[in-house]
Symmetry: C2
Amino acid sequence: MDVILHDLCGADPARRFSPYCWRVRMALAHKGIGHVTRPWRFTEKAAIADAGTDKVPVLRHGDRTVHESWRILEYLEDTWPGAPSLFGGEGGRALSRFVNTWSDAVMMPAIVRLVVSDIPAHLAPEDAEYFTRTREARFGKPLAAMTADREGTVEAFRRDLHPLRMVLRERPWLSGPTAGAADYIAFGPLQWARCVSAFPLLTPDDPLHAWRGRLLDAFGGLARQAPAEDLA
Amino acid sequence: MDVILHDLCGADPARRFSPYCWRVRMALAHKGIGHVTRPWRFTEKAAIADAGTDKVPVLRHGDRTVHESWRILEYLEDTWPGAPSLFGGEGGRALSRFVNTWSDAVMMPAIVRLVVSDIPAHLAPEDAEYFTRTREARFGKPLAAMTADREGTVEAFRRDLHPLRMVLRERPWLSGPTAGAADYIAFGPLQWARCVSAFPLLTPDDPLHAWRGRLLDAFGGLARQAPAEDLA
């Protein structure tokens, strides 16, 4: 059965920048699941309406649709049990969920305040209007105001990553001896940022910078080859 | 072989309040490992010097000594492989380490600023002098100044727990279908606080409050029966 991933893109269909879609793309590569990605833009709601959502990632597997990145990761693990494990057992699955809530609650809001104003320039005109209007309504201020102090706020962001840094000082991957779902979950927001913004989130001497580099190199450079702005 | 845990206590030897020792006590109970605890005070360095450390927890197992709570948890898992697992597999072990770094980097410093000034009153005179002198040197201010604004800082602390809260809204335990090492690791700092301070860290409507209550009730109420100040 064919596997199709609806994957957020910019004006250039090759620019894929959704943090949630990147989690799924890395997981598909980890499991070696053949698939095609289908570029999708914010305003193309009709293309995924049958999945019962208006957001990507949406995975199609034969007649089935699955949406929301965490649910897709679980679906991949359960549907391809013979492929390399994403979680490393039930304890790993349970705590990968904690990495997911930590990444969503700590990394995502901080990165919004570091890169969101750089996003509209990469979008098709209709999407840029949609994105700017909906995000400015959500945040209650212009996008430029969101990131105005980013030279200062990036320091707090780097401090907030300290629990992850402490682990990655001890070993190369968060998930254990090899990379796994937890790595891809925490990597997604960093890949989102570098795909849309040249603003440097990590310093070169940070163990997180080297870890991100290993993930960029994984699977034949899947994530490194994607169009991006921060090439460090 | 006998198992002995050197366990931090106050002037009252029954008041056990180390967050790190509580992680180990819950893990010993989880695995059903018969043991005795030996009350230990801050200034009794000689009693554990043979273990190569000046801090508890120190575990003695026959001729072996193990110190540092994370290393003890791994030792228990590896030495009693037939007892109920603390980690739920290698993926769970790897990510329990992340819960440990998160708890140490996020929970511990915040709780210090909420309860540290309440600790000396529970200590024997020599220990109170030692604790106050060493902590005031570390923090660069009087203990009372550390907690002076705690009515305000507790709000930030509760927000910082949000990744944990998001998981515990979905299920009763962090570690999965049953409690495990990750639960005990995050519980330790909360138990430390309630054993020394009546200052309420959690509101009764918080899912974390109910989760803490389940851990207090576990193992026949092991943690609830300990002398404490916050009885909510």
